[in-house]
C-alpha cells in the first residue's frame, strides 16, 4: 500500500482497465488481467467481453476466480466452448481485441519469456511455459502486458523468447506506463510519486523516456471501491 492509499496491483489494474473500451473483447488470464477486465466491466465498459482460455466466453464472475477454470466462469458465461474451438475459431479467427500477457522477463521490444531462466536444456529455473501466450501474442489485435518492473524482469536479453512483442501496445507496471515508440518500449508515464530515475534503475536496458512524459491519474475512490469489492475468491 502506498502513501496514497492504493497498492501497486491496484494502480496496475486501474491503468489497464482504463484502456478497455465498452465492447472490447478481452482474452484474460488469472490475477491482474482478470481484475482489470472485471473492473472495466463494472465501471466505464459494461459491455466488455471477458474470455478465459478455458473456454468461457462472456464470463461475468461476481468474485475473482483463482483458476481460469472456476465453475463460476462457466455458470455466468454466454457460451462455453471446447479448448480446440477457443484457440482455432476465436483466437486464430481474430475475434479477440485485447489479449493480456505477463511473463518472467520482457525485453525492449515487448518479447516475453515464460519458459526458462538459464539454458533451455539445463535451466536454472524451469517456469510453467508459454501456454496460450505464443498465439495470443500473434492472434489478438492488441496485446497488453502487466508486469512489475524490476531489473530481473526488464532485461537486455531474454533467456528464452516465448512470445513475440509485435502486437504489444502497452506495458503497465507498478512504476508507470511503457508504450512502443519507434520500435522500442518507451516510458510514457509514471505513476504519482514515481520519478524517472527510479524507473530507469528498475530497467535492465537503457530505458528511453518520452519527451512528453505524463503522470497517471491516481485510482478514483469509485475504482478502488469496485476493485476491493471484487476481492479474490478465498483460497481457504
Amino acid at each position: 500500500m502506498s502513501a496514497n492509499g492504493y497498492s501497486a496491483d491496484e494502480i496496475m489494474a486501474v491503468e489497464a482497465a482504463r484502456r478497455l473500451e465498452d465492447g472490447t473483447v478481452c482474452f484474460v488470464g488469472i490475477g491482474l488481467p482478470s481484475l482489470a477486465a472485471n473492473l472495466a466491466r463494472r465501471t466505464h465498459a459494461p459491455g466488455c467481453v471477458l474470455i478465459y482460455e478455458s473456454g468461457t466466453i462472456g464470463a461475468k464472475p461476481e468474485r475473482l476466480p483463482l483458476s481460469i477454470g472456476d465453475g463460476e466462469l462457466a455458470e455466468t458465461a454466454d457460451a462455453v466452448v471446447s479448448v480446440p474451438e477457443m484457440f482455432a475459431y476465436w483466437l486464430q479467427g481474430e475475434r479477440i481485441d485485447v489479449g493480456f500477457l505477463s511473463a518472467a522477463q520482457i525485453d525492449r521490444h515487448g518479447n516475453l519469456n515464460s519458459t526458462v531462466i538459464g539454458e533451455y536444456t539445463s535451466p536454472k529455473v524451469r517456469l510453467p511455459g508459454g501456454g496460450g501466450a505464443p498465439e495470443i501474442a500473434t492472434g489478438a489485435r492488441d496485446v497488453f502486458v502487466l508486469l512489475r518492473q524490476t531489473p530481473r524482469a526488464f532485461v537486455e536479453r531474454l533467456d528464452f523468447t516465448t512470445s513475440l512483442g509485435d502486437r504489444v501496445r502497452v506495458v503497465v507496471t507498478d512504476l508507470g506506463i511503457l508504450e512502443p515508440r519507434d520500435g522500442e518500449l518507451t516510458l510514457v508515464a509514471t505513476h504519482p510519486g514515481v520519478n524517472t530515475v527510479e524507473v530507469r534503475a528498475a530497467t535492465g536496458w537503457d530505458l528511453r523516456v518520452a519527451a512528453d512524459l505524463a503522470t497517471t491519474t491516481p485510482p478514483t475512490e469509485q475504482e478502488l471501491a469496485v476493485l476491493r469489492g471484487l476481492g479474490t475468491k478465498s483460497a481457504a
Binding site: L66, G71, L73, P84, F87, P128, G130, A235
Partner: protein
C-alpha cells in the same frame, strides 16, 4: 464395460505407453492418475495441455519418462515442484520434454481425433519454441501461406473424468469441457471415470456425450477429480492447491504424502476417507 478402475488401468495401460489424462482446469482425472501410481507404471510418456498436481505426482513417483505439454504449473499458486525437480535435477529420474503452445496441443489432439497425421495452425511464429519442439512448416496449396504443422496426438491410452455414465457405459460431461472429446477420439484405448452411474443420461445443454462404443472402460470414481472439481457435484478445493505447494517442495514430505494418501489407500474412496480423517483431526 463398467469395471473397477483398478482393472481398467491394469488391462489397458502398459509400461512405456503414451498416456493422456486430460482435463482443462475441470474434471481432472486424479483418481486414475493415482491408480497408475499404485500399479507402478513406468516409462510413460505423459501428454497433457496443463499438467498440474496429478502429473506432478506421477512425475515425482517416477512413472514418467517424457512429458508432452504446453503449461506446467500450479494454477493460481505457482510452480510444480516435482516437475521442476525432475527437469532441473533429474529427480527421481530425468524427464524429457516436448513443449508446445496451447494452440499447438489443441490442434494436435483435434488432428488425432480426425485421423489426420498433423494439425495445421497459424502458430509457432518466431521465438525460441519452434527450435525446441516437434513442429514443421507447411505451405498452403491454395494461397501459398506458410503455416505450422504439429504431429497428431495419438496416445495409446486417453483417460478422462466425467460426471455421469448410464448402465451401458455411455458417458456425459458438462461445464468446461476442455479437450476431453478429442483425447478420447484420438486415443487407441479410452477410459472414462465418472462420479456416478445413472439409469438414463439426461442431456445437458452444451454437454459432451461419449458413446459407450468409443470407450474401452468406464469406472466409477466418486470424487475422482479432487482437488479439481466436477461441475454440479463439488467445487474446486482451492486450499489443497495452496497446500500442495508446501507438500511438494520437499522430496521426503512429498513421498510421505504419496505413501499415506495413494500407496496406502486402495482406491479413491479410501483416499477421501483418509483426507477426511486428517481434516477432522486437524
Amino acid at each position: 464395460m463398467i469395471a473397477p478402475l483398478r482393472d481398467a488401468i491394469q488391462r489397458f495401460v502398459r509400461d512405456g505407453d503414451t498416456v493422456a489424462l486430460e482435463g482443462f482446469t475441470h474434471l481432472i482425472p486424479h483418481a486414475a492418475g493415482h491408480e497408475l501410481i499404485r500399479q507402478e507404471r513406468r516409462d510413460l510418456t505423459l501428454v497433457r495441455m496443463t499438467p498440474d498436481l496429478v502429473y506432478d505426482q506421477l512425475i515425482g513417483m517416477g512413472c514418467a519418462r517424457k512429458l508432452v505439454f504446453s503449461w506446467g504449473g500450479n494454477p493460481g499458486v505457482g510452480s510444480l515442484h516435482r516437475l521442476r525437480d525432475a527437469v532441473e535435477h533429474g529427480w527421481p529420474r530425468p524427464l524429457e520434454l516436448e513443449e508446445h503452445s496451447h494452440a499447438g496441443m489443441a490442434a494436435a489432439y483435434a488432428a488425432g481425433a480426425a485421423n489426420l497425421p498433423f494439425g495445421v495452425l497459424r502458430g509457432y511464429r518466431g521465438g525460441d519454441l519452434p527450435a525446441r519442439t516437434r513442429v514443421a512448416r507447411v505451405t498452403c496449396p491454395f494461397t501459398g501461406e506458410e503455416l505450422a504443422a504439429v504431429g497428431a496426438h495419438r496416445p495409446d491410452v486417453g483417460i478422462v473424468h466425467a460426471q455421469q455414465a448410464d448402465r451401458r457405459g455411455n458417458v456425459q460431461l458438462w461445464g468446461i469441457a476442455g479437450v476431453q472429446k478429442e483425447t478420447v477420439l484420438a486415443a487407441k484405448h479410452a477410459i472414462a471415470t465418472v462420479e456416478e452411474v445413472v439409469d438414463e443420461l439426461t442431456l445437458v445443454p452444451g454437454g459432451v456425450v461419449l458413446p459407450h462404443w468409443v470407450l474401452d472402460a468406464v469406472a466409477v470414481a466418486r470424487g475422482g477429480a479432487h482437488p479439481s472439481y466436477a461441475h454440479g457435484y463439488y467445487d474446486r478445493d482451492n486450499a489443497f492447491y495452496v497446500v500442495w505447494d508446501e507438500i511438494s517442495r520437499d522430496r521426503e514430505r512429498f513421498q510421505e504424502w504419496m505413501r499415506r494418501h495413494v500407496l496406502e489407500t486402495q482406491d479413491v474412496t479410501q483416499y477421501h476417507e483418509r483426507l477426511a480423517a486428517e481434516t477432522a483431526a486437524a
